[in-house]
């Protein structure tokens, strides 16, 4: 299939998409130079929601930064909880009890499904399909109810503690989660795939649109579904294992095409894989404490530099923590996945029609507060 391509640019004009624009899902601004409907140059402009989270981390003690982590990627907040906990636990040498590890995995994966469902809904909204939003929110609501039950919040969780989690799961949560797994497995092929994935208009809109090559992914450091959609088999959960992921059996969906459809399919398959992970984790869930004994209130890790990576719904999230032996972090640097995923936008969007460029933007699954921090 050949897309229309401009031969040469004659008269151009600048169109400001955002910071208030329906397609940018937040306060991202894209300065697009256009010739008619062709994108000549697309330049993402960041910084509209910069809140200095990394600096805030240096101001308080280790525990005080915990609630902030959820404010960055509000769609996969628990993964940010997890990433920060991992690096601090590594620095302070805290052992996490096994039950806590399993609870962490269950909740993070539930949150991952919620994040993918919301991406799916928002992406379809970008493409002009309104109805799927409500179907996806119906399922997402079930997850939020389950997580609310044990964490107390619905969006910006602060559930993980250094050395474990703050509340235990109860029987109702476990049976509810099992019921949810059955429900979503039943709904995925009907509500999601046969209604939307097979739709001819959707296929025409995202197949062969926004092709990212393997090389581009490597150059820009793309990760998560964006890289896996371009045929790069990399998932932190498998390749730099943490928590109890090595004990669980799951696959990493990889599609080689690199187009928006590939990214779409990666995310849809990841929902199924997350369901598998949750199911196994629920079966294996051991008894025991949910938090390590004797974790001091004011951590004072030894001086040194530590690194931990987790896989969020959008890619690999790295925390680099530098401690100087005091009760505050000396420096906390985040490597957030969406920032890298967005950085290749300018190169790939060049020469596209504006409608395709915005569909491509949606397929990157951006969460702006995580880019700006």
């Amino acid at each position: 299939m050949n897309l229309p391509r401009p031969q040469h640019y004659e008269e151009t004009f600048v169109l400001n998409l955002g910071p208030q624009h329906p397609a940018t899902h937040g306060v991202l601004r894209i300065k697009v130079t256009m010739d008619g409907e062709y994108v000549v140059k697309a330049e993402p402009v960041l910084g509209y929601i910069h809140r200095m989270h990394e600096k805030i981390a240096e101001q308080g003690n280790f525990a005080q930064f915990m609630p902030y982590t959820a404010r960055m990627d509000y769609l996969h907040a628990l993964a940010f909880n997890h990433g920060y906990c991992l690096v601090v636990e590594r620095a302070a040498g805290i052992e996490v009890p096994e039950r806590a590890e399993y609870i962490r995995v269950i909740t993070v994966e539930l949150n991952r499904i919620a994040s993918h469902l919301l991406w799916w809904a928002a992406f379809l909204l970008d493409l002009g399909g309104f109805t799927p939003l409500l179907y996806a929110f119906d399922d997402r609501e079930q997850i939020l109810d389950l997580l609310e039950r044990i964490t107390g919040s619905r969006l910006t969780y602060c559930y993980f503690r250094f050395g474990g989690v703050c509340t235990d799961v109860d029987d109702e949560f476990i049976s509810g989660t099992r019921a949810f797994i059955t429900r979503l497995r039943k709904r995925l092929p009907t509500m999601y795939h046969s209604l939307v994935t097979g739709n001819i208009i959707l296929i025409k809109r995202i197949k062969d649109i926004g092709i990212i090559s393997r090389e581009q992914c490597r150059l820009y450091g793309a990760s998560g579904p964006v890289a896996r959609g371009s045929g790069i088999d990399f998932d932190v959960r498998k390749h730099e294992p943490y928590s109890v992921y090595p004990e669980l059996d799951f696959d990493i969906p990889v599609y080689p095409d690199g187009d928006s459809m590939a990214r779409y399919m990666v995310r849809m398959d990841e929902i199924e894989q997350s369901l598998r992970i949750i199911e196994q984790a629920l079966d294996k869930l051991p008894d025991g404490p949910i938090i390590a004994a004797k974790v001091p209130k004011n951590l004072k890790p030894e001086a040194g530099a530590f690194y931990a990576a987790v896989e969020t719904a959008r890619g690999s999230l790295g925390h680099r923590l530098i401690c100087d032996g005091s009760k505050n972090p000396y420096r906390l640097k985040l490597r957030s996945p969406t920032f890298c995923n967005l950085s290749l936008y300018a190169e790939v969007a060049e020469g596209m029609m504006i409608a395709d460029a915005l569909a491509f933007l949606g397929s990157l699954d951006l969460v702006i507060p995580e880019i700006d921090r």
Binding site: G128, T131, L358
Partner: protein
């Protein structure tokens, strides 16, 4: 009717304006309720019973808002465009035969008149977009023009097939010709074997009428995820309201035209008690289908939309025209 022509004109004017106004208001309600059902929601339910007073509340809200005329717009054209946008739909309704006796103005070439006014409607969109002096609005109005141009051609070509069969472009004659049961309607016409090809005409015409009225999945002119609100971006208050009303009146006109041309006008499917009630039933079934389509499919891209017209619709309608002409000539 044996009344004075002036009185008759006045009665029809009021009647048509009421019909158009009520439709514009209550199709919004139908659309919201229909969308809600499709999306497993309830829809408007607070204002009046089942939210039936919602259109009134919406209208009041729109009317009490300030009509903002931003700096840098062509103020006269900016104000004129929404008013003009209402006109074509209203005028078109005048030649629609609701039943044997219920038609405001019968005229030769009335089918052509509707197409002429549909093009005027497109000009109003262009006018509004241009006068706004907003980049989104200009992109949107150029899209609307290229889209309407592309879809008028196959639409007119399919109307020619009807004209060949019936031998007239008078909507009343076309409807009269189809009286009787289902198999006298143009869509299922057994006589002359037109049932073999008319479904192609019908599908082309229906798709084109969705595209002509700028409805999803062809609502490229107001693609909110790309162009914010398209040509209506700068409009507030009743300026916006009038554009919305024009859109719904155009849908009604499109449905009326489809019902008259293909579905036998006011004829009953089994030949019982023909009358305006059948006509109204048919147009609302068509309108419901349009709403249903909108809330099911995502939007397509502008270049695919144009390709669909130039590369698929027009060749198909030309071949269809040829076959129909052959059937008329040799059978």
């Amino acid at each position: 009717m044996m009344t004075h022509p002036f009185v008759r004109a006045l009665i029809y004017l009021i009647g048509l304006m009421a019909f158009a106004g009520l439709n514009a208001a209550y199709l919004v309600w139908c659309e919201r309720k229909g969308a809600a059902r499709i999306q497993r929601r309830i829809g408007p339910c607070e204002v009046g019973w089942a939210g039936l007073l919602q259109p009134l509340a919406d209208g009041l809200k729109l009317m009490t808002k300030q009509l903002l005329v931003p700096d840098g717009v062509d103020a006269a054209l900016f104000r004129l465009a929404p008013v003009l946008a209402m006109l074509p739909g209203m005028v078109s309704l005048a030649v629609i035969p609701f039943s044997d006796t219920l038609q405001a103005r019968e005229m030769e070439l009335s089918a052509l008149l509707i197409f002429a006014f549909a093009s005027v409607g497109m000009l109003c969109v262009l006018l509004g977009g241009w006068a706004s002096g907003n980049k989104f609005a200009i992109i949107s109005s150029t899209r609307a023009v290229s889209q309407n141009l592309a879809y008028e051609i196959p639409m007119l070509l399919t109307v020619i097939t009807i004209a060949l069969i019936v031998g007239s472009l008078n909507l009343r004659d076309i409807a009269m010709e189809q009286q009787g049961n289902l198999f006298h309607w143009n869509l299922f016409r057994l006589e002359g074997w037109h049932i073999l090809t008319m479904w192609i005409s019908f599908i082309i015409f229906f798709i084109c009428s969705i595209a002509e009225t700028n409805r999803a999945p062809f609502d490229l002119a107001e693609a909110e995820s790309e162009l914010v609100a398209g040509y209506m971006t700068e409009y507030s208050s009743m300026g916006y309201g009038l554009f919305m009303m024009a859109e719904y009146i155009n849908i009604v006109v499109g449905a009326c035209l489809t019902a008259t041309l293909f579905l036998g006008g006011w004829a009953c499917p089994f030949g019982l008690a023909p009358g305006w009630w059948w006509f109204v039933l048919k147009i609302y079934v068509l309108i419901f289908t349009i709403i249903w389509v909108r809330w099911t499919y995502p939007r397509t891209q502008i270049y695919r939309l144009l390709n669909l017209s130039w590369k698929v619709m027009i060749p198909f309608s030309l071949v269809n025209l040829l076959i129909t002409a052959g059937l008329v000539k040799f059978l």
